[in-house]
Subunit: 205 residues, 2 copies
């Protein structure tokens, strides 16, 4: 499970040594807890139990490590979610599946998610930022399409599609600020409960 | 309006000179756009059009400026929202008022909000952090009470109160990540639309 999470960080298990995976995993954890600015190459080397020179043998600098973590992370979220949409399900069930899959992805790659989110809106590398925004737009676009489908089928009332998409994504994206592992519901279960609240509403009578 | 926003930053207009207010306002803006780490005392002095020595005459260091911005910001949000809950309204209307008031507060104090949020979860000063968490808990507790009241009156179905509160707060808290001023709905209107979506649900038939 930990191994699966790591392989998703690189996306190229077969090309990467165990050492590379360990460095990326420990770096994600450090960036998530101490922030990018608060993490030094020395911290990363110590967390991996290796010398700084061995660390520099693998990566030129901290930014290169960060780039490996961040690049493709939104693309993989998009693909992970898309792969988990049931073909033969009602439109609302597909919206639910989108939400639960995002929760599951968050749970599997929490450190990577937090590290990537922290720098998402202020990524200094323009090309990298643009690529992530493109995948972010595809991810959000997929959700809007699912909502649109549910309206077209009559399963949803004719709500504002972008605003409804924002509400759904806000509920999922804010989880990284308060969710504590090993306590209560899993992120996938929380996403499932959010779907129930939003779909059925709060109205009692 | 700008002046009102500034006075809310300090909470003590009568004790503070215009210069102090200007420094706090410009610092909020810089922290919100460049981050705390990315903002220097030189940047703040330049933004205010004053010398560094005059800046140091008012504040010992950057942390003291930050403390003035962050301290009390959650308390003021709580009080702002509490003051705007209509006495003679149905429980659902009070939940709606809570959401709209939070949106209005966000709009009035956006820079301060963003600057405070960025450091909320990693405030190095433990006492300050505890005080903010206490007000945060009161703010969230107020919302849970409103939800509980709406369930008790039968206006809401018997939903999970903490989870419903999380959903509401997520929708409002995530706004600082995507909201662009002077484009489309105001934050208060967005909060109002979110209430409609969550209260009435998406179900079409």
């Amino acid at each position: 499970m930990a191994r699966a999470a790591i392989s998703a960080v690189t996306g190229e298990v077969s090309d990467s040594s165990d050492r590379m995976l360990q460095i990326l995993s420990e770096s994600s954890r450090l960036f998530a807890t101490k922030g990018y600015d608060g993490t030094s190459m020395r911290d990363i080397a110590e967390a991996c139990g290796i010398s700084k020179s061995l660390l520099y043998h693998h990566f030129t600098d901290k930014d290169e490590i960060y780039a490996r973590i961040a690049l493709g992370s939104t693309q993989r979220l998009f693909e992970f979610v898309q792969d988990r949409l049931p073909e033969n399900a009602t439109p609302p069930e597909r919206v639910r599946a989108f939400m639960v899959a995002t929760g599951d992805y968050f749970q599997r790659h929490r450190s990577n998610w937090i590290a990537s989110t922290a720098a998402f809106w202020s990524d200094p590398e323009l090309r990298r930022h643009k690529e992530r925004m493109m995948w972010r737009d595809r991810y959000e676009g997929l959700l809007r399409q699912l909502i649109q489908d549910a309206i077209a089928s009559g399963d949803f009332r004719p709500v504002d599609v972008p605003l409804t998409g924002r509400l759904v994504l806000s509920s999922l994206n804010w989880m990284h600020r308060w969710y504590k592992p090993d306590k209560g519901l899993s992120p996938g279960q929380i996403a499932d409960s959010y779907f129930d609240l939003i779909f059925n509403g709060l109205r009692g009578r």
